[in-house]
């Protein structure tokens, strides 16, 4: 509520490479002899650098039965190597006044440090070291496994919305691992062992499966020289195969689920539809879906909010969500939180009626122009966020896009018409490719 406007601005700030000439991002790319890609984004406003290594592997690349291993390995990468003690990398970053962390998603795993620009070499030395020389103990495995189980508790098991989201994902995907939570299923996490982790590490952690993204107060040639020294010395993995993950058969029937939990305070309806992602050289459909999410459910001025929150007063909150950065088919989501006294059936039915009416009426040209204006502005605002620029390249490149695609994205968004948006809505918002979930209070009362 307080932050709906900010949230809107953030949500549409997805893509933001250069549009006007004076906002061109200073991006330089290289490829090392061992296949490691290097992206340098210059920003000399402060003597700070962000050093990131992105691996083209995430939870959706895991073998069957070991869900969570990608994320588990991410935790274990902070343990010992041949030359660093467990925890020494982070301690060294901290002792140099920097911060570091890592994150895992379906399609990527990334490690980063933010630090004074003159410490870049030390960061590369340590990051390249753990790409090749991780040394784990059995005690690391058992202790850190407890940590990730507690992380699962915190993110998912203690939170009915987290459990519900897992059920929605697993209903949407039959074979594809987007249907398995990134953190893993608890019963599989409990069994993860040294072999699972090291197999994954040896297969996927190699320079020819990694992208170095350095942003901040750096000179591209100096970054390349350092990268050749540290990352260039690591041999490529010749056995690395192209990414091929289990794919789903076409969805031909709508799926439904209801999850009840006594910890639910606010019930809601979530509808997800299978949706195409941004593909290299072909981002138009994803661009139309990105704008569809804004027009339909991107804040107080959106169609769903106007209809269901302002006019009919049937909903406390409505929203539409889509992010096209993914390697395989993603989802387009709608959420309706019913107002007091409005049933889930009614909320869902009215949502469907509103979407049908929207498709029928077409896009309000003034609304579309406002959104495009905000997208143009977001490119100016994005220049103030050098961390965000680096992440945008890392996410895009690990999700099958090229630097050119990432830089073209703002133009592709600006070219979308109202007709494109309606066509995308008709193509994607089809019952037979949907999952409808109701998150509900348990019927029994709790103490």
């Amino acid at each position: 509520m307080h932050r709906i406007l900010l949230g809107l601005a953030a949500a549409i700030g997805l893509g933001s490479a250069a549009l006007a000439e004076d906002v061109k991002e200073a991006v330089t790319t290289f490829t090392l002899d061992n296949g490691m890609q290097v992206v340098v984004v210059e920003d000399h406003r402060a003597p700070v650098v962000q050093h990131m290594v992105w691996y083209r592997v995430g939870s959706a690349d895991e073998p069957p039965g070991v869900s969570g291993v990608a994320h588990f390995l991410e935790h274990l990468m902070f343990k010992a190597t041949d030359t660093l003690e467990a925890g020494e990398l982070s301690a060294t970053v901290a002792a140099n006044g920097g911060t570091d962390n890592a994150f895992t998603s379906y399609d990527y795993t990334a490690y980063f440090q933010r630090i004074a620009a003159d410490r870049l070499e030390l960061m590369m030395q340590m990051e390249s070291d753990r790409m090749a020389n991780l040394r784990l103990t059995e005690n690391n495995i058992t202790t850190e496994r407890d940590v990730i189980l507690e992380e699962r508790n915190q993110r998912v098991d203690n939170n009915p919305r987290g459990l519900f989201a897992e059920q929605m994902g697993s209903a949407q995907y039959l074979s594809h691992h987007y249907g398995i939570p990134i953190i893993g299923w608890r019963h599989e996490m409990e069994q993860l062992d040294m072999d699972d982790v090291m197999d994954f590490y040896k297969t996927y952690y190699a320079p020819n499966n990694a992208i170095l993204v350095v942003s901040g107060d750096v000179d591209p040639q100096e970054v390349l020289d350092l990268a050749e020294t540290y990352y260039g010395a690591i041999p490529a993995n010749p056995d690395l195969k192209p990414r091929a993950r289990p794919q789903d058969p076409p969805q031909i029937a709508e799926r439904r689920l209801t999850f009840r939990d006594p910890r639910v305070a606010q019930q809601y309806v979530n509808r997800s539809y299978l949706a195409p992602e941004r593909d290299a050289g072909a981002q138009e459909k994803a661009a139309a879906l990105t704008l569809l999410a804004e027009v339909l459910g991107g804040g107080n001025t959106s169609y769903l909010a106007q209809k269901m929150q302002f006019e009919q007063k049937l909903a406390v909150y409505t929203g539409a969500f889509y992010s096209g950065v993914a390697l395989d088919d993603t989802t387009f989501d709608l959420i309706v939180v019913p107002a007091p006294g409005v049933s889930m059936e009614q909320a869902e039915a009215e949502m469907d009626k509103a979407v049908a009416a929207f498709i029928d009426e077409g896009v309000d040209p003034e609304q579309l122009e406002r959104i495009k204006m905000q997208l143009r502005a977001s490119q100016i605002y994005a220049r103030d966020d050098v961390e965000g620029i680096g992440s945008r390249y890392g996410r895009g490149l690990t999700s099958g896009l090229t630097v050119e695609d990432i830089q073209n994205w703002p133009d592709v968004l600006q070219a979308v018409t109202g007709e494109d948006i309606i066509a995308a809505a008709k193509a994607v918002l089809r019952p037979e490719t949907s999952v409808t979930g109701w998150l509900m209070r348990a019927e029994e009362t709790t103490q």
Binding site: F78, R114, V147, N300, Y381
Partner: protein, 438 residues
């Protein structure tokens, strides 16, 4: 560890240019309104941070939640524009405004393109001076607030935080509920919103930070336009709070697999001469990095949690020292025992010279990294003014950290840390834990 000490010296050399970029000017408008400004014309936009001291603590006891609700209504129309027209206008201008209230402040964070500044500022002025508080918007936002309150009532983190605040501060506004209750919020009228607005917005508790593509002259005119017509003063701030925290454990039964604990004791005032020593001490004990003692003992060695943190919470009317941890129900007792032991150990034997050195190096080195982005710098400028810090604070702050000695840290550890008065509020079904009887 010679290497690390050397590293810290090298960093000091790079620190000067890092912070030289943040040149704060104090601007006084023609009508006498003050603001702090960092000019940076490299990107054609500016961030404006506006803070009003007092925050939701200015609500009377029977109107708790009025200021929180009123803050949520500021974006719901002003002047001639109703909620939808107002939102559309902001979108056309590609400006954004965020609103937030806390115990001590109401904060407004705005961001706008230089090319749209002249159209945006009147809109922002009307937000501050002529909010409409239409009944339709009040009812709609009220439903969202009530929905949020109902969700908070089932969120173990929120339950623990609220219980701890109430225990520590009792009937003082800090004791909550900051967002009100379903009953108080449901009863709020448009008059209550106008009263809440009057309690907050006054010139004598206004603090402004501006960063980006704005000159001092332009800012002066902006200040007069935005604020000159606000009343000079408002209702008095509440009295200081008495902090009453007794050692022990409070268990709040809640059926969920992971117990959440909020813990704390009395804290230290921001202006206490020992504040920086306490700050270094906390960095060592539980200050949010992987290197802290709590992280090391509870997570790294024992795998009892995903995260454990402690932090100093010096507020305007009272100061506490807080922390949090979450562990599965059958392991939370051990996590709490380890935390308590670490509290005791730090109180009785203090820190080591290396820990103090490492903490200082981290804190001084990480400080410039905060100044990344116009919006964040504007927030820092307002935070500094609210804390009554001088204009040159950014340049002198690291020297204050560096001046902290091992003896200071150990003396403050003995004085401040009070394991016998450390209280844990645990929400969940913890095994082997019961509320202590005081």
């Amino acid at each position: 560890m010679r290497r690390l000490i050397f590293a810290s010296i090298a960093w000091v050399l790079t620190l000067v240019p890092a912070l030289a970029g943040v040149q704060i000017q104090e601007v006084v408008s023609p009508k006498g309104i003050k603001a702090w400004l960092v000019e940076d014309h490299s990107i054609p936009f500016a961030a404006l941070q506006i803070g009003f001291r007092g925050g939701s603590s200015l609500d009377p006891a029977d109107k708790r939640g009025a200021i929180y609700l009123m803050t949520g209504l500021l974006e719901e129309g002003s002047g001639d524009l109703d909620a939808v027209a107002y939102a559309r206008r902001l979108e056309e201008l590609a400006a954004s405004v965020g609103y937030d209230s806390s115990d001590d402040t109401v904060m407004i964070s705005a961001r706008f393109l230089s090319e749209n500044r002249d159209q945006f500022l009147p809109l922002l002025r009307d937000t501050l001076q002529k909010p409409r508080f239409d009944q339709e918007a009040l009812d709609r936002v009220r439903r969202q607030v009530v929905s949020g309150l109902e969700s908070d009532a089932k969120d173990p983190n929120k339950i623990a935080g609220a219980a701890f605040s109430h225990m520590a501060f009792g009937d003082h506004p800090y004791g909550g509920p900051e967002k009100g209750t379903v009953e108080t919020v449901s009863a709020m009228t448009r008059e209550d919103m106008i009263d809440a607005h009057d309690r907050v917005f006054a010139r004598d508790r206004l603090f402004v930070g501006a960063v980006g593509d704005v000159s001092p002259e332009e800012l002066g005119a902006m200040l007069d336009m935005l604020f000159a017509d606000l009343p000079e003063t408002s209702v008095p701030l509440p009295e200081k709070a008495d902090v009453t925290i007794e050692g022990g454990i409070t268990v709040i039964d809640y059926d969920t697999p992971q117990s959440v604990a909020v813990f704390g004791q009395r804290g230290i005032d921001r202006h206490d001469p020992d504040f920086f020593a306490a700050y270094v001490l906390n960095q060592i004990l539980g200050g949010g990095s992987f290197e802290s003692r709590l992280m090391n003992e509870v997570r790294e060695k024992r795998g009892l949690t995903y995260g454990v943190y402690s932090y100093l919470a010096p507020r305007d009317l009272a100061s506490v020292y807080l922390g949090s941890v979450a562990s599965s129900n059958d392991r939370i007792a051990e996590a709490i025992e380890v935390i308590h032991d670490e509290w005791e150990k730090a109180a009785s034997t203090g820190a080591t010279a290396k820990e103090v050195e490492d903490a200082k190096t981290y804190l001084t080195g990480a400080y410039p990294l905060r100044f990344d982005g116009n919006g964040r710098i504007a927030q820092i400028l307002v935070g500094m003014q609210l804390d009554d810090l001088p204009l040159d604070y950014i340049e002198t702050r690291n020297a204050k950290v560096d001046a902290v000695t091992l003896e200071d840290v150990n003396r403050v550890a003995a004085e401040l840390l009070d394991p016998d008065a450390l209280h844990f509020v645990v929400v969940g079904k913890p095994v082997g834990l019961e509320s202590s009887t005081n």
